[in-house]
């Protein structure tokens, strides 16, 4: 069963209108004539309110998507047509729903389709964009600074020095170690599967629970009057502070520890996320990444989050991480066997 929830033209138009509108304040200009016209024509959606008067973003959402962060080289337009997107989704669904061959290594690991983890079996947030990046307008990350290039080279050299992936637990990726998933951010890019979020609001706070590794982002709102923690306090998820700008929740995150870089970002990264409910079942999620130590200019991306039924179940990744343990055991056994093989008499 493939989920094909075609957004109506009205909602898509509304989403695009909000996209327009959010650009204006960021650039520090008044609303453009085009945006005003779009607003007048489209009667923008107003979210219901929580009992304390915040626009209500609560519920379960997904930003699962087939759209990549950067625009493919072969594409020059910012949007696909409906037909092109349907074709891309069809191809991806065929690819992802392919069953693994019994007895092969991919099958032993796990077959995503068995658990409904592949995107073709889950709800995904349809997007006509050819890239999530909307600025720079070419849909690509901005040029990397000299400092960013130097840091990337250092990271690569350090990776080289630390040995093979199966030499030690810490040589593995953060997600294999169940420390955190790469796409969790912020910004909250999708994570391939389980790209699911729960939003709960209380006076002075918004909480976003990321399903992957049960990462709860507790975001104090500015009414609470809190500054980010001192610079010495650095987190994998950074420290987030929020405020409402009309219908939009704006969340600024700093204090990253730099150990989970986003496309080579540094610990000086600052992420500004904007959540706007543009329809009952859709939040437009837009974010800007600023990191002078890495990119010559800030960059901005946008993707819809689609409402899903929920609930979210506990993702106890570390507690069930038999994979990492067993693979290390296997690697040591292989080495031992190879050593015994080499020591066997009669072998030249």
């Amino acid at each position: 069963m493939h989920h094909r929830s075609f957004a109506s033209a009205r909602i898509l138009a509304a989403m695009m209108a909000v996209g327009f509108m959010t650009i204006a304040p960021v650039a520090g200009q008044g609303p453009s004539a085009a945006a005003s016209a779009a607003q007048a024509a489209e009667q923008p959606y107003t979210a219901p309110r929580t009992p304390d008067g915040q626009p209500d973003l609560q519920g379960f959402w997904t930003n699962q998507t087939y759209t990549r962060l950067e625009r493919p080289d072969s594409v020059t337009t910012p949007f696909y047509t409906e037909e092109e997107v349907a074709a891309i989704e069809g191809r991806a669904a065929t690819r992802e729903s392919a069953q693994t061959e019994p007895g092969t290594i991919p099958d032993v690991h796990y077959d995503f389709t068995q658990f409904g983890l592949d995107r073709s079996q889950s709800t995904f947030a349809r997007n006509l964009r050819t890239s999530l990046i909307v600025d720079p307008p070419n849909g690509k990350l901005p040029p990397v600074t000299a400092e960013g290039q130097r840091r990337a080279a250092e990271v690569a050299a350090a990776r080289e020095r630390r040995g093979g992936r199966w030499d030690a637990a810490e040589n593995n990726q953060l997600d294999d170690r169940c420390i955190m998933m790469a796409g969790v951010g912020p910004p909250m890019l999708n994570t391939g599967y389980n790209s699911t979020y729960q939003i709960v609001q209380a006076p002075g706070y918004v909480m976003i629970l990321v399903e992957m590794i049960h990462d709860a982002r507790v975001i104090p709102l500015s009414a609470v009057g809190r500054e980010p923690p001192p610079e010495a306090v650095r987190h994998w998820l950074g420290a987030s502070r929020g405020r409402w700008e009309g219908e939009t929740l704006v969340v600024e995150t700093t204090n990253f520890n730099g150990k989970n870089p986003l496309r080579g970002s540094s610990d000086k990264m600052r992420v500004i996320e904007r959540f706007t409910r543009v329809a009952e079942d859709t939040i437009m999620y837009r974010f800007t990444v600023e990191d002078e130590a890495t990119w010559e200019t800030p960059w901005t991306a946008e993707m819809p989050m689609r409402q899903i039924g929920g609930p979210i179940f506990e993702h106890a990744c570390h507690e069930g991480n038999y994979g990492l343990y067993n693979t290390l055991v296997g690697a040591r056994l292989e080495e031992q066997q190879a050593a015994e093989e080499a020591a066997r008499p009669g072998r030249d």
Partner: protein, 272 residues
């Protein structure tokens, strides 16, 4: 003689009454304090809270004791405590008591929290880390600093646990001004404390959370697990608001801290 007998009788009666009071459902002793209201009219339990007792080390009464790791000296020695269990003693079945003692003798290998595993319920509520209550009408979140453990309390659409888990499946409702949380669906792999007190996957936890002053909550827990205990039993303690202006839940992502403990022996040996 006779006077003494009467006095003894009165003492016994008073003691019995006292016992009765202790056993009486917590509602009877709920404090008279009336909490400020959340915007939906319910008592406002929002805030960052933390226990200030020694239940984390041992929920039963215990004298101070040494660290199980000699090198840590007093750094991980156990502070004495009067306990949080009503009646002081957990009513273990005999074989379960033996298992508890075996746990206690093998803490370093067996305590799941040492490996940064999720703490379960109620243990997370009285570990020496703050947690935050984020209270909305449909969902009340409990976000722990320790291991980023998190619990969703479903205030409507109550369902059974879809599968067993570390933090269980929590359904909540309001009983007057008390938040009552009913949690089942545990996997049986969590403990109550650092003294080996444990339960099985049949654990059923009922928590009652009541504001008792602007800066404190009364936290009462009823534990039921026929596989391990001869009868249901209760714990109670105050929880304190973290009143610092800048109080906030920080990150204690401890997986990284225990990797060497869990996987260190599987490291590739340095080439000979």
């Amino acid at each position: 003689m006779r006077t003494r007998y009467v006095l003894l009788t009165i003492a016994a009666a008073v003691a019995a009454a006292g016992l009765l009071l202790v056993v009486t459902p917590a509602t009877a002793q709920a404090p008279a304090y009336r909490a400020p209201r959340a915007p939906d009219g319910r008592p406002d339990l929002n805030g960052i809270w933390q226990a200030l007792n020694t239940a984390h080390w041992d929920i039963e009464p215990h004298a101070a004791g040494p660290s199980v790791v000699r090198e840590l000296g007093t750094l991980s020695a156990v502070p004495g405590g009067l306990g949080v269990v009503d009646g002081d003693v957990i009513p273990y079945r005999p074989e379960a008591l033996a298992a508890r003692d075996e746990n206690r003798a093998n803490l370093l290998r067996r305590d799941p929290v040492i490996k940064c595993y999720l703490p379960g319920v109620p243990r997370g509520m009285y570990m020496p880390f703050p947690f935050q209550i984020i209270q909305s009408q449909q969902h009340i979140m409990i976000v722990h600093e320790y291991a980023g453990a998190v619990r969703t309390i479903y205030m409507d659409n109550h369902t059974e646990a879809p599968a067993d888990s570390w933090m269980g499946w929590s359904n909540g409702h309001w009983d007057g001004d008390t938040l009552v949380v009913d949690t089942t669906g545990f996997n049986g792999m969590t403990w109550f404390d650092r003294a080996g007190n444990f339960h099985s996957d049949a654990l059923h936890v009922v928590e009652r959370i009541t504001a008792r002053s602007p800066e404190t909550l009364l936290y009462e827990v009823t534990i039921e697990d026929p596989n391990v205990f001869t009868r249901p039993w209760q714990m109670s303690m105050p929880l304190y608001r973290r009143v610092e202006e800048n109080a906030q839940i920080l990150e204690f992502r401890c997986v990284e801290f225990v990797e060497d403990l869990i996987y260190g022996h599987l490291r590739k040996p340095a080439s000979q």
